[in-house]
């Protein structure tokens, strides 16, 4: 374990991972947009409410049918974007919705498919939507959520995935658009797969991601951390993770830790009434928590800013050197702040 050198976080280093001149943040209010589409009753509203509005998955059964296009910005979170959900009964490319304006500022098109429902109609609609969206904006990132897989066996899941993948590829090939890269996620609102899937979608929209990955790698190396995540505490979506392969079980542990910390902070947290007050859940910049696991591992959480928190998993022995970890964390925190500051300056200049 070694101390991280402040010089490693100067702006020259960041420039290797960022090109402010070509910053393509969303126009308008500056928020990237995620368009959510899918057949009726595929689970679009449930996903949105569970991920961003902290609704319990059981309560989503009682959500009413979405009667109109829901355009909601996500506030109170590091994830400064907006979601546009089109009801399954409506055609998103109807001229009444001005599709050119919608999709030209769209960062990602997220299509939700109900794995337990009839697939052909959904796949046909999805292919058509992707083709039309691509024709409007070639920079859109296409994500497919194969949803409601919690009720399927592993074999059925894989079979469904293969079927969807093949059908979409065939449709795109028919239109000579097989160069479109589509990411598939198997999701369910009853476990953490939906959060992880959304995390991956969000990461693609974070321009500072390479710099953050590098920072996390360096922190892990310096502190002997096995796995680290940079979480948005409000939505439990991780904005960045290190280069090590992600592990769903670790991610679930981290989410549970956030839940526990949030609940305890809500009871014992220190609230301040001023403009720099912490979020409503009681966090402040000094917040941190430690969970010692039975398997000789430690989970630690340290607040980076009012929305972001660093959660790391490491062995018990290296964790004893708290002073070093704290020092390295401070360097890491300064680095993250500088990364986003540079991004803000770039937007302003642009």
């Amino acid at each position: 374990m070694s101390a991280m050198q402040p010089d490693q976080y100067n702006s020259e280093h960041y420039n290797n991972y960022e090109d402010p001149g070509s910053d393509e943040e969303a126009v308008g209010d500056g928020r990237p947009t995620i368009v959510i589409m899918g057949q009726k009753r595929s689970g679009k509203t449930s996903i949105r409410k569970v991920v961003f509005q902290k609704m319990s998955p059981n309560e989503t059964v009682f959500c009413e049918s979405t009667p109109r296009v829901m355009n909601e910005p996500i506030t109170g979170s590091f994830i400064n974007l907006q979601t546009i959900e089109f009801p399954g009964q409506l055609d998103a490319f109807d001229t009444a919705f001005n599709p050119k304006e919608v999709f030209s500022t769209c960062g990602a098109l997220l299509f939700v498919i109900d794995a337990q429902a009839d697939l052909p109609e959904a796949l046909r609609k999805m292919s058509a939507a992707m083709i039309r969206a691509y024709n409007i904006n070639k920079n859109i990132k296409f994500e497919v959520f194969v949803h409601k897989v919690d009720g399927l066996s592993e074999e059925t899941r894989m079979a469904t995935y293969r079927r969807i993948f093949q059908k979409v590829q065939d449709d795109l090939a028919d239109h000579t658009l097989d160069n479109i890269y589509i990411t598939y996620h198997m999701t369910s609102i009853y476990d953490h797969s939906i959060f992880e899937a959304f995390s991956k979608v969000i990461q693609k929209l974070v321009r500072q991601l390479p710099a953050l990955i590098k920072l996390l790698d360096m922190f892990n190396t310096a502190c002997s951390v096995e796995k680290s995540y940079l979480f948005d505490v409000s939505s439990k979506i991780y904005v960045a993770t290190d280069s090590n392969p992600p592990d769903l079980s670790t991610y679930e542990l981290c989410c549970d830790m956030i839940d526990i910390t949030t609940d305890l902070t809500g009871i014992y947290g220190n609230y301040r009434i001023d403009t720099n007050a912490p979020p409503q859940d009681g966090y402040n910049l000094e917040s941190q928590s430690v969970v010692r696991l039975k398997v000789n591992q430690v989970l630690f959480m340290k607040q980076v800013d009012k929305y972001l928190a660093l959660i790391g998993v490491m062995k018990k022995e290296p964790f004893e050197k708290k002073g070093l970890i704290d020092y390295n964390f401070q360097i890491f925190k300064n680095g993250v702040t500088a990364v986003f500051e540079i991004g803000r300056l770039a937007i302003t200049r642009h």
Partner: protein
């Protein structure tokens, strides 16, 4: 008017449309080009014939100027029933209403208009517009608050008030599209449904017009009616929903009461019924008919010409003619009510009531339903000259000045020793909430103690008209008969008052013409109509001899215009015939029948004295009594009650000669 909803399967759909169509004598195929119509005449039988589910008519006998083609055809509007209503959209039961080629019809012959309710709009333009409005209404993010319609006049208008993004998606919409030249206002609301996602279904009640100014001007009037309809629908749906939740207890988890212990994998699948029809949700098989009636009422409000507005292409003369016809229609409706009421009262009691009224007595109607009181009192107003009717149907306490007074049953009334009154109580015996019809019994609680004998001639004639079979063939004939009797007696009063100044001479004249002496009592009251002397609420005693001015009283003033001339009121003293003893007070006393309220095609939930067809109307069809002038000022001094000198028979014969 359009009812739209968001279907689970099909998205936004127009469920029902009510259109107002002008009545013309020529039948045209609405979807056929004029050139084609002028060309070859179609000889084959029309493939489509509209199914008429109901026809309600108002004023047909008196105002229908369009001859019926055949006995079978129902002539209405400017189109016939051989038109096919084209619908491009797929529909389920939830998206359907009256059926693809069926309609409810309401004919307003007075206004020269027909109101047709169909599943989709009749003509292509209206069809496209309603679809567009429905789509846009359901996609509106910012709705105006529901409290907008309860604002006072100085509160912000729809354009200036802040919109609110309501969580439940309920509110008022107001938008227009210049290129399509339409404006729409409406109420978006949700009905509870135990078998839909989220236990609610989204509906919207929309009012669409090409006339932006019209909708802006009548925004509040429309929204009051629309909100009332929406709230009633919500109430009905809530009752059905609660009943279903109560009955189907095995599915109680649907209401989310036991969420805490349910695991995602173990949760039973809830049975949805996405195609549940509107009638099932509100629990009323006749819901569309009721809605048709309400939409007709709203369109009537919208299309009623307002004296303060100017409509393009409608002259002031047309407006005044419309108002006159409206007044006549209301008078005929009142006569019809009077005919029904007279059958509910025993003959001796009816006679006593009529005698009391024509003498200027006060009749009080006790009933807890204000519209019913209003109708009842209005019915009796046809028996008196317009200027003598002082009607107040919604008083919270006893008021002596009004000769036709309506109060709630709990209002205390004076004892018989204090005032001689007729008190009638209306008791509800039957009500049909679906059709908004109710029946009331008429109970005579109190009659005046003094019974005049013989019966005054005008009362005898009134009773004779009621018993006359010919008069009962149509209401308009009876109305004309009663009006003629009234006018004849009024003419007599006018001529007598100008020719015979003293009561004694009048009594002698009546004796000569074999008129009952009791006519003098009626004469004493009816002469006030020409003299503009306000009533004091008391019956005039014949023993006090009033004096009359020598100068003829101006009687050429129309009853509906303001009387601006004023003459000083003399003090009570002995006045000879040459003195001017009467005053003409300035007063604004609009005629009973000049009200500009909506026409009563029918009345929902207002009680009926006749067998009315279940059509809707503005419940406030009775004249607004608050606009009447008050006769409170110096009632004692306004009548000059002086002693007259005795009249000898010589004088009498000299005069009559």
């Amino acid at each position: 008017m359009a009812l739209c909803h968001f279907c689970e399967e099909h998205g936004p759909r127009v469920v029902m449309t009510t259109q107002a169509l002008k009545r013309t004598g020529i039948q045209r195929h609405a979807n056929v080009d004029e050139d084609e119509e002028k060309g070859e005449k179609k000889k084959e039988e029309p493939r489509y014939k509209m199914d008429i589910l109901s026809v309600n008519e108002f004023g047909k006998v008196d105002f229908d100027t369009i001859p019926q083609i055949t006995d079978e055809d129902v002539v209405f509007a400017s189109w016939d029933r051989t038109i096919e209503l084209v619908d491009d959209e797929s529909r389920c039961e939830a998206c359907s209403s009256v059926g693809p080629n069926a309609s409810h019809i309401a004919n307003d012959y007075l206004a020269g208009r027909s109101y047709v309710t169909t599943q989709t709009a009749i003509n292509e333009d209206a069809y496209a517009v309603t679809q567009s409005v429905c789509f846009k209404a359901h996609n509106t993010q910012n709705l105006l608050p529901l409290t907008l319609t309860s604002l006072e006049d100085d509160e912000p208008t729809p354009s200036t008030s802040e919109s609110s993004k309501t969580e439940d998606g309920e509110g008022i919409i107001f938008f227009g599209k210049a290129q399509d030249k339409y404006t729409a206002v409406g109420r978006m609301f949700a009905l509870k449904d135990a078998k839909s996602r989220g236990f609610k279904r989204r509906y919207g009640l929309l009012c669409i017009s090409q006339n932006h100014q019209l909708l802006t001007w009548k925004f509040k009037d429309i929204m009051v009616e629309v909100n009332m309809t929406a709230d009633l629908l919500k109430l009905s749906a809530e009752k059905v929903h609660d009943c279903e939740q109560e009955i189907d207890k095995d599915q109680v988890i649907r209401s989310g009461q036991v969420l805490g212990w349910i695991q995602g994998h173990e949760q039973p699948k809830i049975e949805y019924d996405t195609s549940r029809s509107f009638t099932k949700i509100v629990g009323n098989e006749e819901a569309f008919f009721t809605l048709h009636r309400d939409c007709v009422s709203i369109l009537q409000i919208l299309l009623k010409p307002d004296a303060t507005m100017k409509f393009d292409g409608m002259s002031n003369l047309s407006v005044s003619r419309y108002v006159e016809r409206a007044a006549e229609a209301m008078a005929i409706a009142a006569t019809e009510d009077f005919a029904v009421i007279s059958k509910k009262i025993e003959q001796p009691e009816l006679k006593a009531i009529l005698i009391h009224l024509v003498r200027g007595g006060q009749m009080i109607c006790q009933c807890d339903y204000a519209p019913v009181r209003s109708k009842f009192l209005f019915a009796f107003s046809v028996l008196l000259p317009n200027t003598l009717v002082d009607i107040a149907s919604d008083q919270r306490k006893y008021c002596i000045e009004k000769n036709l007074l309506g109060v709630d049953e709990c209002v205390p009334l004076p004892t018989p020793e204090q005032y001689d009154l007729v008190i009638i109580k209306l008791v509800k015996t039957y009500e049909n909430e679906c059709y908004g019809v109710a029946d009331f019994d008429v109970n005579v609680v109190r009659l005046p103690e003094e019974q005049l004998e013989p019966v005054p001639s005008v009362v005898s004639k009134y009773l004779g008209a009621l018993e006359n079979e010919i008069a009962h063939t149509t209401t308009s004939i009876l109305h004309k008969a009663l009006t003629t009797i009234k006018e004849e007696f009024m003419t007599l009063v006018t001529s007598i008052s100008s020719t015979y100044p003293t009561t004694a001479r009048i009594a002698a004249l009546l004796k000569v013409h074999s008129k009952p002496v009791t006519d003098l009592h009626v004469y004493q009251f009816w002469k006030l109509a020409k003299l503009r002397v306000p009533r004091n609420g008391k019956l005039i005693s014949i023993s006090e001899e009033p004096s009359f001015p020598s100068k003829p009283i101006q009687d050429d003033l129309p009853t509906t215009r303001k009387v601006s001339a004023s003459i000083p009121i003399p003090a009570r003293k002995s006045v000879c015939e040459d003195d001017v003893g009467f005053s003409t007070l300035s007063s604004s006393m609009p005629s009973v029948f000049s009200s500009t309220n909506s026409l009563p095609i029918g009345t929902p939930s207002t009680g009926s004295f006749a067998q009315t067809s279940p059509l809707s109307s503005n419940p406030s069809s009775a004249p607004d009594s608050s606009r009447r002038g008050s006769f409170l000022n110096s009632v004692e001094n306004s009548e000059v009650l002086d002693q007259c000198r005795p009249v000898s028979d010589d004088d009498l014969f000299a005069t009559s000669g």
